[in-house]
Symmetry: C2
Subunit: 294 residues, 2 copies
C-alpha cells in the first residue's frame, strides 16, 4: 500500500509518498504561504500531492490515505484544527477541506504525535509497547506510546511532556506556569544560559575544556535527567527516545544523561535512552502512517 504524508510547518511544508515499510519514495518541500489564508495552503498541498504522484508515475487513486501533521491542537474526532498559531489556523475544518481537494481519505494529527508514531513504526521505538519521545528544540514536546499505540491523553487533547512541573514555583514558562520542564530542558534554555544560539557550540566548548560551558551542561543534564526520571517513575516506558536540536550531540549527551537518570530511577533497572531515528522526515512518515494506527 502507498500513503502520503504532509508535515505542515509555519516556515515550510514537506510532503512525501511512503510505502508500508515507512520508506519515503519521493518527497518535496515548499514554502508555507504565510498570511495568505487556508485556501492558499490547500492550493500548495493539492499541487504537491498531484506533482509527487506524477513524479512516481502512479495514479492518485493508488494512495490509500493522506495524513497531515499539524503544529497545533486537533478536535477529538480528528476533523478540525482548533489552534495552530504558527499556521494562523483557528477552528478550521481542515480534514473535509483537504479531502475535497484531493479526493482521498485524510487524517489529521498533532506533529509531535506524528513524530512519535514514525519512531514506533520504523524508528527508535520500533517494537515497544510503552515508550516516550521527547523533542528538545525551541520548546520541549513529544509523545507517548502506551499498550503499543499512540496515547493522545485521557481526554484526547494530547500529552504535554514539556509542561510537567520540574521545579514547582521556579522559572516562568511560555505557557504561563512556573517551573515547567520546558523552562529548563529546551535547546533555547541551554543556549540562553551559555549565551549562544547553537546547542552544538555549548557541547563543543565543554569538550574543549571551557569550564563555564561544562557547568551549564551539567545543570542542563541534571534537569533533563530529572524530567526523564519523572516519566520513568510514573509510567516506566521500555525505551525513551530524544529528538530535536540537542539530541544531535549524540553520546556526549546520552552517556552522562543515562548515568544521571539511573541514579534517580525508582526501579531496579532503567529503560535505555536513545537518539530518535527519523530527523526531519519524522512528520511525513508519521502523518502517512496515521491511518494504519487509528
Amino acid at each position: 500500500m502507498l500513503q502520503f504524508g504532509f508535515d505542515i510547518g509555519g516556515t515550510n511544508i514537506a510532503g512525501g509518498i511512503v510505502d508500508d515499510d515507512a520508506n519515503i519514495l519521493v518527497k518535496a518541500e515548499r514554502r508555507f504561504p504565510k498570511g495568505e489564508g487556508v485556501v492558499a495552503v490547500l492550493n500548495v498541498l493539492q499541487d504537491m500531492f498531484l506533482g509527487l504522484c506524477r513524479e512516481l508515475r502512479i495514479s492518485k487513486y493508488l494512495i490509500a490515505a493522506v495524513g497531515a501533521a499539524i503544529p497545533g491542537s486537533i478536535t477529538f474526532d480528528g476533523a478540525s484544527v482548533i489552534d495552530a498559531h504558527n499556521l494562523d489556523f483557528h477552528n478550521v475544518p481542515f480534514k473535509a477541506m483537504l479531502r475535497q481537494r484531493i479526493d482521498t481519505p485524510v487524517y489529521l494529527q498533532n506533529d509531535a504525535n506524528a513524530a512519535t508514531l514514525a519512531e514506533l513504526v520504523s524508528g527508535s521505538l520500533k517494537g515497544c509497547k510503552t515508550a516516550a519521545l521527547l523533542t528538545l528544540g525551541t520548546g520541549v514536546g513529544g509523545g507517548l506510546i502506551i499498550n503499543g499505540r499512540l496515547f493522545n491523553g485521557g481526554r484526547n487533547m494530547g500529552v504535554e511532556l514539556g509542561h510537567m512541573l520540574l521545579k514547582s514555583g521556579g522559572e516562568p514558562c511560555t505557557c504561563g506556569n512556573l517551573g515547567c520542564v520546558e523552562s529548563y530542558c529546551s535547546a533555547s534554555s541551554l543556549c540562553r544560559e551559555y549565551g549562544t544560539d547553537s546547542a552544538k557550540r555549548v557541547f563543543e566548548a565543554a569538550e574543549a575544556g571551557d569550564k563555564r560551558a561544562q557547568t551549564v551542561l551539567d545543570r542542563y543534564i541534571d534537569d533533563l535527567g530529572s524530567a526523564i526520571a519523572s516519566i520513568v517513575n510514573l509510567i516506566d516506558p521500555e525505551r525513551i527516545a530524544l529528538g530535536g536540536g540537542v539530541s544531535h550531540a549524540g553520546d556526549r549527551l546520552l552517556a552522562p544523561l543515562s548515568e544521571n537518570v539511573k541514579k534517580k530511577c525508582f526501579f531496579p533497572s532503567c529503560p535505555p535512552i536513545v537518539r530518535a531515528h527519523h530527523g526531519n522526515d519524522a512528520g511525513i512518515i508519521g502523518a502517512a502512517m496515521a491511518h494504519q494506527y487509528q
Copy 2:
C-alpha cells in the same frame, strides 16, 4: 459470582467475600503474625478464608478466585512477591503457596493497584477510561487507569506516583532521591512541618485562624497542586481521586487544591479532583476483583 479478597498489611490482615457488584458480604480482621514467617501467615489466611465461608454458609468451591493485596513488588507473572519489607517477604512464591492451602485460583497484586482497581470497579473512578488515584499517607502512592484497565507500568513493575520529581535537587526522599513528590505531599510532610502527628489538626488549626497552620497548608496545597498538574499535563486523566489520611479533610482540601491545579493545567479544562470512595475496604475489594480485570 463470589470472590475473596485479602489485604495483607504489616500490622493487620483484612479479608472478605465480595459479590460482583463489589459489595463486601462478610469480612474479618486479624493481627499480622510479625516475625513468625510465611507459614504462620498462610495459617492465618487459610483460617480466615474457611471461617468466612462458614459464616456466609457457603462451600469454599463457590469462591471463583482469591486475590491478595500486598504492600510490595510482585513479579511480572504475578507468581511471587519480590520484596514486601513490612511483611518481611522476599522472593516468596506466594501465589502457589496460597493456592495449595485454599485450593482456589489466586491473584497477587500490589496494594496501591488493588485500591485503584476498587475505585475503578465501584468507586470514585467508575466508568473512567483514564484516571489516577493518589494516596496521601505516610508516603505518597497510587495507581493509574489507562484505556479502561489498571496500568502497571510499561515494564510491569508498577507506577510510582510519589516518586515523580517535584523539585529537582530539593528535599531528600526515603527512596534516596532529592525532591520527590512524596517529600512534599505526604501526610507525614504536612504534619512534620506544622509539628503534629495528625493532618486533621493542621486543617482545624488553619480553620480556627492559626496563621502558621494556614501558611503550612498553603505550601502543601501548592506543592500537591503541582504534582497533580504534572500528571494532568502528561496523561490528562478524566478524573483524579485522592485517598489516604489527608483526603479526609474533604472540601477544605479539594476546593483550594482544584483552584490551584486549574491554574497549572495546560489544557482548556481541568479534570475533576475527587475524594476516593473506598476507605479501608479498598484493598479487600480490589484484591477480590483482580481476577476479573486481568
